[in-house]
């Protein structure tokens, strides 16, 4: 029986459950120094003077560094389209551009000493005008990067021309805010570095250790064999740790400078304004169609908040563009986006990264259109879905979706959610003018995974003792790669899971790798492991055929080993073959770099049921139903876990979370006491179902599932809350839909 498709418990868990894992703060380092940053507490200013003299005199302090002491060339944005003049120095140089930007790096014997010393650093600032609102930054005379001469990071597409909606009986327009969020992985950023035999060993909490290695090599001018990067346990990332941060790189610089181990782990309050934020789009959404429910034209215009230094966040409108029309066969779609610098924390990738923004816009727009023409939102969706027979389908923005069946997913979610009964209950409460009104929200999403297609490394080796070593280039931070990859190798090699060891995240052992982001790991790294496993079997079969004096075509891998078809008595096991190879000084090993033909397009339908207290504005998420299709599912336990976590983060955006700045650029939600990260109390259990539409672009037929939950759930919940109040005249509410926001709307409706 195949192991694939089964709920296999994670091989990672016993260690995590008994030892608590080994994160950056847990590494045993002898004689290690500690790093601490003095960060800007002002959003935009010229640095007049920095005095670290008193700090350096504190016993236990070994150094206090400013940009002038480091003398590293600034980090240049690497992604395409981004204005290359908007460079980021490792420590603020001459100008500070956001609250939380590191200005001074203090190095000492203990965290307490460093904190004491940081109190003695004096920084004189000459304040500059602050830009917090990206729309204002777009037209402001204040420029955050003087060399660039503009706040515009990049611009794509074009505004719709005046005739764009000609021929539409109904056009609905709405400005929407896709607010800034803090990713909040439970482990904050951290890194540790030391020299070993002259080499630099660098531990970092990252989603992409090989990318870190390349940047370190360039920054320090070290040859490839002199740097080893290790990501052991990583306590969450959600996209935010796919970016390499200057603070982390300085740990390596300090370890070399002092020739001692150095560690840096930021506090949560530092992380809230140091780790990149997510989302941050202002959207102008316009949708046009006919009263029969047919959508004809759709326009999405975006101002993307890039934060102070352009990172991947400023590039993400590109993904929003690719997914703008969603699951619908819309004749024409117009798209324009501008990414703009502001005096805030740089915006990076956060779970979904550009696609939740696309789904939120189109799914809200479809609901508003449905309301305008007086049609059930499920029916409007049904009338506009891309036909399942038309895949691969190229959308009106030119994106080619691999496979899909959107109506099937919608039908299923309506069925498991009891849609008709919910509508009846809603009608009863409206008639009764109940204080607790029911809201029912739908979203039918499609998203893009492995959206920036790249290759991934996988290696499989049968060792002479019969055990199997799998090495994978994509390094996890909670997803369960080790279990998934071991299952794949087990399936192909016929070796039990407990004889398989998986290694990730160590650049000495895994020669190449891209990383874990964009829900790409299974469809790239997983496939590479599968292909390497198949290659190993082929190699072993050739060797077995020699031993059996048979044609390889006649040799089969059966229970216990390779044998000639029809003659299972004489056989050679993988272990025997590996051990014979070892005696010859050879290895039974295959390495594969797999690059899929294209991205994959998971999809699904989500249904949220909310109760809104019309007197207080309080929203309670009563039930959540999700049908997700990520192609073939190798381990439902892992896939469901990804969906659960994704839904929670999506719900959190809809109802609770927003990273708030005041007009002076002061962050107002910079601790977990102020930032409303939801607990178990705010969420229900979720009801999941799935459909399975395999992808044709990889041999496993798999798609990514890491971000689907987030992408589908946010608009479902948002639509549900608006739906609860639709009979009171409410047409749209921006997120987060807090009691305060609802109450102020309800008071006037």
């Amino acid at each position: 029986m195949s192991i694939l498709g089964n709920k296999v418990h994670r091989i990672e868990d016993p260690r995590l459950l008994t030892t608590g894992g080994t994160y950056i703060a847990d590494l045993q380092l002898d004689n290690a120094l500690v790093m601490h940053f003095v960060c800007s507490d002002i959003a935009h200013a010229r640095i007049k003077h920095v005095d670290v003299t008193a700090a350096t005199k504190v016993p236990g302090i070994v150094g206090a560094f400013t940009a002038n002491d480091i003398r590293l060339p600034p980090m240049v944005p690497t992604l395409p389209l981004i204005n290359k003049d908007m460079k980021r120095p490792h420590l603020a140089h001459e100008v500070v551009r956001f609250v939380g930007e590191p200005v001074v790096c203090i190095v000492g014997e203990s965290p307490e000493t460093c904190e004491d010393a940081s109190e003695l650093v004096a920084i004189d600032y000459d304040p500059l005008p602050v830009l917090v609102d990206p729309e204002q930054a777009l037209s402001s005379n204040t420029v955050i990067h003087e060399v660039a001469g503009t706040n515009l990071v990049l611009e794509i597409g074009a505004h719709p021309d005046p005739s764009f909606f000609d021929g539409c009986e109904v056009v609905v327009k709405q400005r929407m805010l896709n607010q800034r969020l803090a990713p909040c992985p439970l482990e904050t950023r951290g890194a540790a570095a030391y020299r070993e035999g002259g080499r630099l060993i660098f531990h970092v909490s990252t989603q992409a250790p090989h990318a870190v290695k390349e940047i370190l090599k360039g920054m320090l001018g070290l040859p490839d064999d002199q740097v080893r990067v290790i990501a052991s346990d990583v306590g969450g990332g959600f996209g935010s740790k796919a970016t390499v941060y200057p603070e982390e790189l300085l740990v390596a610089w300090m370890a070399i400078h002092f020739d001692r181990p150095v560690r840096w782990v930021e506090s949560r309050s530092e992380s809230m304004v140091g780790l990149g934020h997510g989302r941050g789009q202002i959207q102008q959404v316009s949708i046009g169609g006919n009263k029969d429910g047919k959508i004809i034209a759709y326009a999405l215009e975006i101002v993307q908040d890039a934060g102070a230094y352009p990172a991947i966040g400023s590039f993400l409108p590109q993904l929003t563009h690719m997914m703008a029309p969603g699951t619908y066969a819309i004749e024409r779609t117009a798209f324009w986006a501008a990414s703009v610098t502001t005096n805030t924390v740089p915006v990076v990738a956060y779970r979904g990264a550009g696609r939740p923004e696309a789904a939120a816009a189109i799914e809200r727009a479809v609901d508003m259109f449905a309301h305008e023409i007086g049609m059930d939102p499920a029916e409007v969706r049904r009338r506009n879905f891309i036909d399942p027979s038309s895949f691969p389908y190229t959308s009106s923005v030119g994106t080619t979706y691999d496979s899909g069946n959107y109506e099937e997913a919608l039908d299923k979610v309506l069925e498991i959610g009891g849609y008709r009964a919910l509508r009846e209950e809603q009608a009863r409460r409206r008639v009764r003018s109940s204080r607790l009104q029911l809201g029912i929200g739908l979203s039918t999403y499609v998203e893009i995974t492995n959206g920036l297609p790249s290759s991934e490394f996988g290696a499989v080796e049968v060792l002479p003792d019969g055990s199997v070593l799998v090495r994978a280039g994509t390094s996890p931070h909670g997803q369960g790669h080790h279990t998934a990859f071991a299952m794949i190798a087990s399936e192909v090699l016929g070796v039990p899971l407990d004889s398989i060891k998986v290694i990730t995240g160590d650049t000495d052992i895994v020669p190449r790798g891209v990383g874990t982001f964009g829900s790409r790991s299974l469809q790239t790294g997983g496939v590479a492991v599968e292909m390497a496993s198949v290659k190993v079997v082929e190699q072993a079969k050739e060797l077995a055929a020699n031993l059996l004096e048979a044609d390889p075509a006649d040799v089969l891998l059966g229970r216990g080993g390779f044998h000639v078809a029809g003659a299972p008595a004489v056989k050679f096991s993988l272990k025997e073959i590996a051990s014979l190879q070892a005696q010859r000084g050879e290895r039974l090993l295959a390495e594969v770099d797999f690059r899929p033909d294209g991205p994959t397009f998971p999809f699904g339908a989500h249904l949220a049921v909310v109760e809104v207290d019309v007197e207080t504005g309080k929203v309670v998420l009563k039930a959540f139903f999700a049908v997700d299709d990520a192609g073939r599912i190798l381990n439902p336990l892992l896939a469901e876990g990804q969906v659960h976590g994704g839904i929670a983060q999506g719900v959190a955006q809809a109802l609770f979370e927003e990273m708030v700045y005041d007009e002076s650029g002061n962050p107002l939600t910079s601790t977990l006491a102020e930032y409303p990260f939801p607990s178990a109390v705010e969420l229900p259990s979720f009801v999941l179902a799935e459909t399975e539409t395999p992808s044709p672009v990889n041999p496993l037929g798999v798609k990514g599932i890491g971000e689907s939950g987030t992408i589908g759930s946010t608009p479902a919940v948002q639509n549900a809350v608006v739906d609860a109040l639709a009979h009171l005249g409410v047409r749209h509410l921006d997120m987060p839909m807090t009691p305060e926001r609802l109450w102020s709307v309800l008071r006037y409706s």
Partner: protein, 162 residues
């Protein structure tokens, strides 16, 4: 200041500064790094341990306050032969952890919760874990794990080994 604390069944005596938090004592002095630190406002619960059988956020307790107390951390939950505590087993069986960072705190909070209320409803589990944040699981499988652990431990008189 001198403290004498029994941690996971073993007695430790150390000199600590008055300002040393219990979590820093456990991690830094005793080297028990299974207890994680996730915030600096006592919001996240990652550092939850048992103090005399009751869950505490070890970032809100001074090491000197633990003088004379018995502390249990994640390292003390499994049997000496390595067999998992029913709560650990339930988290494993129900995929109650992903990145693992909140897990030690969740497991310890669960131990305390089930000691107080051996047969909690789903709502009671959610209320009981309100002080422990998880970013990965959406709490769905954590709640499932706690309910499963309650069912397994049903009939056992003592939820937690001391």
């Amino acid at each position: 200041m001198r403290v004498s604390v029994k941690v996971n069944g073993r007695l430790y005596e150390n000199e600590v500064e008055g300002r040393t938090l219990l979590v820093h004592y456990l991690r830094g002095v005793l080297g028990l790094t299974g207890t994680n630190i996730g915030c600096d406002t006592s919001s996240c619960g990652a550092c939850t341990v048992l103090m005399d059988g009751e869950s505490v956020k070890s970032c809100t307790v001074l090491a000197v306050q633990a003088d004379g107390a018995e502390i249990t951390t994640i390292e003390g939950m499994a049997q000496p032969d390595g067999s998992l505590h029913p709560i650990q087993k339930a988290f494993w069986d129900n995929h109650g952890l992903q990145c693992g960072y909140c897990t030690p705190g969740m497991v310890m909070a669960t131990a305390s919760l089930l000691k107080e209320n051996p047969h909690p409803s789903e709502e009671e589990v959610r209320m009981g874990l309100e002080g422990n944040l998880c970013r990965c699981t959406g709490y769905h499988n954590i709640v499932k794990s706690v309910l499963a652990a309650a069912a397994t431990m049903d009939g056992q008189t003592e939820a937690v080994r001391s």
